[in-house]
Symmetry: D2
Subunit: 297 residues, 4 copies
């Protein structure tokens, strides 16, 4: 099993502040018609921290049911406590996850040392019946899973790789260079994904790929084929929208964009606010420039 | 109802990784023999992010049962989603909380604007049957509840005050100066509590006060009595231990210290690590210097 | 010799981008009619990093000539290299400086350790014929002179104290508590000066005191007299203007304010930009609220 | 005139704390036997902030005399004031600089807006008789020359490009993508130079290239030839030493390394400290691993 290719961290649609399983299923079926390698459910873009455990389980089974068995379902199961992470991982595996993506715990930032991360992930990987991916997303967690900890964890037989959502290319390069070949690093930032692939990332988990699946797959393939000049130009075309859906507007931006192109994004959950009119305009403008804006009926 | 005085944000003791209700109850009874104004349960020092909802409820009822009705029980009920925060607040009130302390949501840092905080806290305060305290703890959340948002929220009839755990005295002074007298600001950082009181904080929520209840109460009273020179000297005596139990070693340090002085701290929950031998030595040294180290039988 | 009291870090007026000695002299004479304890020339607010060595010397002798000998002239002589700092210190002393204020070198931030600072300041203090004040201004330098280094340097017989321009009250308190009584800590941030005095600062170097000399002196005296409640209220009145003249608008704001109240501020030197119309309006509004706006003829 | 290729930002050797012109000249002649495209004198690695104006001029003429006229001499002339920067630029041009590299002014960080940078660089480029390169080195200056300012300045006929010393690849990519082809971006961080080249950097200014000139030139050429896999592997080989000579140990590390390989590094100037024994050991180890360590007689 490997995680090369492109995976969208899909959002969780709501109706009346409950999970909209119909919309979620329809979205997944639509993504499965593209060349995406699978799905990441319950990542940051899935508003996972805003769901309760029952909702998380409903989301997993909905997604699994809408996917062919041979497409990879990766489920976010990171919780603050080690025990809760293990429990969530077990449930996800039972519900059909092929792999879990485990965000760093982060609340007690001052004591989240490399030793603490190694202890946490080792316990989770020991207990998990499916392979584990590490997940470093400093922009949201405020902690940094440093290469020294990654290198120590990459020796664990049940840890297959990591998603690194930061844009620090030196750090990504170090994680690639200092881990065995079987350990895959997935890029999580769409504004730097080309550079990450250049330094050795094996694939990508990109919110952008929920909106532009085939262009994102094409970017990865161009690098794999050594067509760097074309890849660089494609990255440049994608960067403005990547920025809007990333650090600028996050989940509300992604859901809005999906609504514009025939998927079902819908409202976000509080404390997230609806997208502002100005942000909506910026995103629509980029979608139009990329030729993917559809007219809703 | 007001929150002047000193409140300890109490830790949650575990036995076999389950809540140790006997130890928790014994601790609370012991604190209630001091001049502390009440208890803060399920704050950061209570490892609240590491508990599930059932454990949280067990902790609340245990603490309430161990306290006289006329001592204030403040319960931490902040969750990432607005809806979960409202639900936790409702349960806490039913279980006997006099007031709730609501940590800022913080996961989606890039969109946690003042508008988002105002929407979140307004919804929580509208729904709560008990008064609400805002809670800004940037060291752990990585977001900052700015005075502009505090000023807007201080107008809400069900928001009584805030706990500000940061050491930015200009920010504390601004929160005090720009809010009505009925809105109390509680200092949350023991290394700067004297300065916070000088600029108008009404009281304090200090991990240090779980270890040194009467000295912390004395510090607040000295300022209230205008005895600033004595207060300054007392702060200096307390600062080294305050630092060790705060940013240096956090919850593991606090639990260790309690174990040394006749309370029951016990182990922490993963991903927190046990206190290192060197940190233990530093804390014991300060406890000895302050004359509170007891010999355990 | 001590540095208790209030010192304005005076700006350097220019005419046709040369130092305006007439304006500088007139300003100093006017300040000397107030209760300020002396003058700080060639500090950050004096645009010292934008002057050449000849201009610096002209400024020093102009200021000295305009001051009575018994009012303290403190001159900023920090340079990036140790040797240049020693040379500037020697020239300042020859031109009549009573004391020098030596900003931390800061360019090579990654290697500016406490050891580097101790070596630098020791060499300067050894060579100086007048007493030396340390000067930590992280907002401008991006480096932090930590208490551990301050404590080591406070033992030097020719180092009399420090100016700490940051607002970290815990750090100021630590510098006061861990140094001998003969070592004075001067507060450099007007928004937190009351709190700094509470924790033991001996005086203050405040841009605000160039505009409001007597109110700043009054604030220090109120604390010295134990009249903390009055001091707290005075701090609150001063805070909005303090903020505008500090981190918000810096030197251009200070010069503009001086122009409004009968001193001669005049233009700044590039790369500084002239104050915006909006910032001018904010400052004028605060000056009017404080009753010090004068109508220019 | 273009700046493609690799340029070493050369250190300034001292003897008895004066510039050692003999050593400087010998070093330059040795570098000129390699495939480096020219020399950057008086950059950060040249300890420029620690030199006086006379020393700067001596260094420039020494370097110019040691170089053939057809190899590019780029001289650092950034000063804090716009006027001093213009004066230093004029002197450098008179002494034979082909181009100047102008570091952002940075002291008054809070007001160093894009407008301030645009005003500063426009004035310098208007006045300069030789082409100007912008220079962003946030690690040392604490300010960031953002792409928006770069884009505005790239229209100036006398601004040919920039050196970006940061490792933020998204920022480098944006500077490349949003400026005309005639505007060259040089990478300044050796740990991320391969990634910077991938996203379109035209060349590099690397301290590492003073130690390993031909390997650095080879890295740039491999990318130009589309041999990305070889380039990636070469970057990996170079990264450990790149890190040691960059953020880890800076100028003292670079001078030490030069001393080990037959160039003349020599002592640094205060406040810089001599390299520690441990750092020396790490650097020697990397030099040995790369096979460039020479035995000094």
């Amino acid at each position: 099993m490997n995680v090369r290719g492109v995976f969208p961290p899909i959002p969780t649609p709501f109706v009346d502040d409950r999970i909209d399983r119909v919309a979620l299923s329809a979205n997944v079926k639509q993504w499965m018609k593209t060349r995406l390698s699978g799905i990441v459910a319950l990542g940051s873009n899935g508003e996972a921290p805003l769901l309760d455990e029952g909702e998380a389980e409903a989301a997993i089974s909905t997604v699994r049911d809408a996917m062919p068995r041979d497409r990879l379902l990766i489920v976010g199961t990171g919780r603050e406590s080690t025990a809760a992470t293990i429990a969530a991982t077990r449930r996800a595996a039972e519900l059909g996850a092929d792999m879990v993506l485990v965000r760093t715990p982060s609340f007690f930032k001052n004591v989240m040392t490399s030793d603490a991360f190694v202890q946490h992930y080792t316990a989770v990987a020991d207990a998990a019946s499916v392979p584990v991916l590490l997940y470093n997303v400093t922009m949201y967690t405020g902690v940094n899973l440093l290469p020294d900890a990654v290198v120590r964890l990459a020796d664990h037989q049940n840890i297959l790789g990591m998603k690194e959502s930061g844009g620090d290319i030196a750090q990504i390069a170090e994680c690639v260079a200092r881990t065995p070949d079987r350990f895959d690093v997935l890029a999580g930032s769409a504004t730097t994904v080309f550079a990450a692939l250049c330094v050795g990332a094996a694939g990508a988990v990109l919110a952008l790929s929920a909106v532009l699946p085939d262009l994102c797959v094409e970017l990865v393939e161009l690098v794999q084929q050594g067509r760097y000049d074309e890849a660089r130009l494609l990255q440049r075309r994608l960067t403005p929208l990547a920025r809007l859906l990333g650090s600028a507007h996050g989940v509300p931006g992604l859901k809005y964009a999906l609504d514009q192109i025939g998927y079902r994004g819908g409202p976000v959950r509080g404390p997230l606010l609806p997208l502002s009119a100005e942000a909506s305009r910026q995103i629509s403008e980029q979608l139009a420039a990329l030729g993917v804006l559809v007219r809703r009926v």
